[in-house]
């Protein structure tokens, strides 16, 4: 695949073209004694060096991985070394670089390893080729954009944006150190951007902390959401704030690629896609309430391209739409032997005007094993009531909306802001 060398890349006040970046990476790698025949896991907290390293690995046709320094835990480092990746740590602007070599792991060339935490939280590696990573090519020809890069470097979503810029015409990237959503937004303002791809949580966080009047000063032409279930309330809010933007939400997974792409601003996707496989190159279907995908972009070692992959994500039919509601394994709470759906409870709570955000989880409790607990962030309307009043009103709201007694949250935690993981996703908690 041919690098779009003229595409622009901006980071912390420096702007250049993608074609400049391989040399930056090569200089740092050579300084540490690494070369194109090594399998390198590049670790850095410099976003420019991480992008340069990915582009450089492509230029070398080398095997490698990109790891943000914040994600390079001892467990991750051990896993990479075990799998035959030498660790190349690169300092800011490539000022220093050091190499921890390992043996084994024959290079295949042009393979990129992605770290995922899977459903268990234990890190694992998935291997892709550049062809299987670059799934957004199939989304059609995009108009020129400057994309705000919001994803954690080295993740599947980050590579989606990177490969869009590497191989798509006139797709620029605006990166910044991976910090909070509002800092990423503010850093991007100086460079200028007209497109944002992020998790829904990124926007919920931003909308809670920034005045809408300030956000809409950015003339967004494209908003893409992915990485988490996308709800109608957020789509409606973004549509009202950015009426000129194309609103896209994507279902993607590191194992199978971007399988579902929707542009109509409505939650979910047409249910008919489950019957006819959908319009994309990936085929989709539902089995036992779980989404399955047949994908030409599947990671290596996950079976043939004809295999149907069970995503573990629950899909529900609502009228003429099919809606992905989240991981099935995260959804069911056992309250004294009765099942409670965290997703169903969240659906009810989300309709309450007191709240701007909620997450339902199980809390370990005597006698019944688990009680339903809710972490919530109050909306403007909820800030004028006491917490005791809010708890009473929210409880009554759940009862009035038909939740059975065991599904009504018993414990309420009021948070000042939406809690986010480094990947800007809401983390499921298990009590």
């Amino acid at each position: 695949m041919k690098l779009q060398t003229a595409n622009r890349f901006s980071c912390e006040g420096q702007e250049g073209s993608l074609g400049d970046l391989p040399a930056l990476f090569a200089a740092a790698a050579h300084r540490a004694g690494a070369g194109a025949s090594d399998r390198l896991a590049v670790i850095s907290d410099d976003p420019r060096m991480l992008v340069a390293s990915a582009v450089g690995l492509h230029a070398w046709s080398a095997d490698g991985a990109i790891v943000a320094a914040t994600a390079a835990s001892p467990a991750v480092r051990s896993l990479l070394l075990e799998r035959g990746y030498s660790l190349l740590e690169i300092g800011p602007s490539g000022e220093w670089a050091r190499l921890q070599r390992t043996s084994g792991g024959g290079a295949q060339g042009g393979r990129i390893a992605l770290l995922t935490s899977g459903t268990t939280g234990t890190p694992k590696l998935l291997t892709h080729t550049w062809e299987s990573l670059a799934t957004l090519r199939a989304a059609g020809t995009l108009p020129p954009h400057r994309w705000l890069l919001t994803y954690l470097p080295g993740t599947y979503a980050w590579f989606q944006m990177l490969t869009l810029s590497m191989f798509g015409a006139e797709q620029a990237l605006v990166a910044s150190p991976h910090c909070s959503p509002e800092e990423i937004w503010d850093n991007g303002l100086a460079a200028g951007f007209d497109a944002v791809s992020s998790t829904p949580t990124f926007w919920r966080y931003l909308l809670a902390l920034r005045r809408a009047a300030d956000l809409v000063r950015v003339p967004l032409a494209q908003i893409t959401l992915g990485g988490e279930p996308v709800r109608q309330d957020l789509l409606d809010r973004l549509r009202s704030l950015f009426p000129a933007a194309r609103l896209t939400h994507i279902y993607a997974a590191a194992e199978v690629g971007a399988a579902i792409v929707v542009h109509d601003g409505r939650e979910g996707f047409p249910r008919g896609w489950l019957a006819d496989g959908g319009p994309g190159r990936c085929r989709i279907r539902e089995a036992g309430g779980i989404l399955e995908v047949q994908s030409p972009y599947a990671a290596e070692g996950t079976g043939s391209k004809d295999l149907w992959h069970s995503t573990g994500d629950r899909v529900e039919i609502r009228g003429n739409r099919a809606v992905i509601t989240g991981r099935a394994a995260d959804d069911v709470l056992n309250v004294g032997g009765r099942k409670a759906s965290a997703v169903a409870i969240e659906e009810v709570l989300r309709a309450n005007p007191l709240l701007s955000w909620c997450r339902v989880r199980g809390a370990r409790a005597p006698l019944v094993g688990t009680l339903v607990a809710a972490d919530v962030v109050l909306a403007e309307a909820g800030r004028s009531v006491t917490r005791e009043e809010a708890e009473r009103e929210l409880t009554a709201f759940c009862v009035a909306h038909g939740l059975p007694e065991w599904m009504v949250p018993r414990l309420w935690t009021f948070l000042d802001r939406v809690p986010v993981s480094p990947a800007f996703k809401v983390e499921r908690l298990h009590g």
Partner: protein, 80 residues
Amino acid sequence: MERSAVVEVMQSILERQGKGGPDLHDSATLREIAFRSLDFSELCLRVEQKIGRELNFDASTLRNIDTVKDVCDFILQAAS
């Protein structure tokens, strides 16, 4: 933990569930005040959060709990 604090938590649980009424008195039965197993579990959890440790109790003693007084005795014993 004081007996009055246990009653106060019971009262607040009932009010939140829309089952609040006059002040609880010791002889009121759990059936009369509609204090169910989920309410009892919530009470235990809230007490555990207040005292910062798990309650220590024998599940078999639960069978003999019938009134507000029984609940208070049980909680105070388990929290001691």
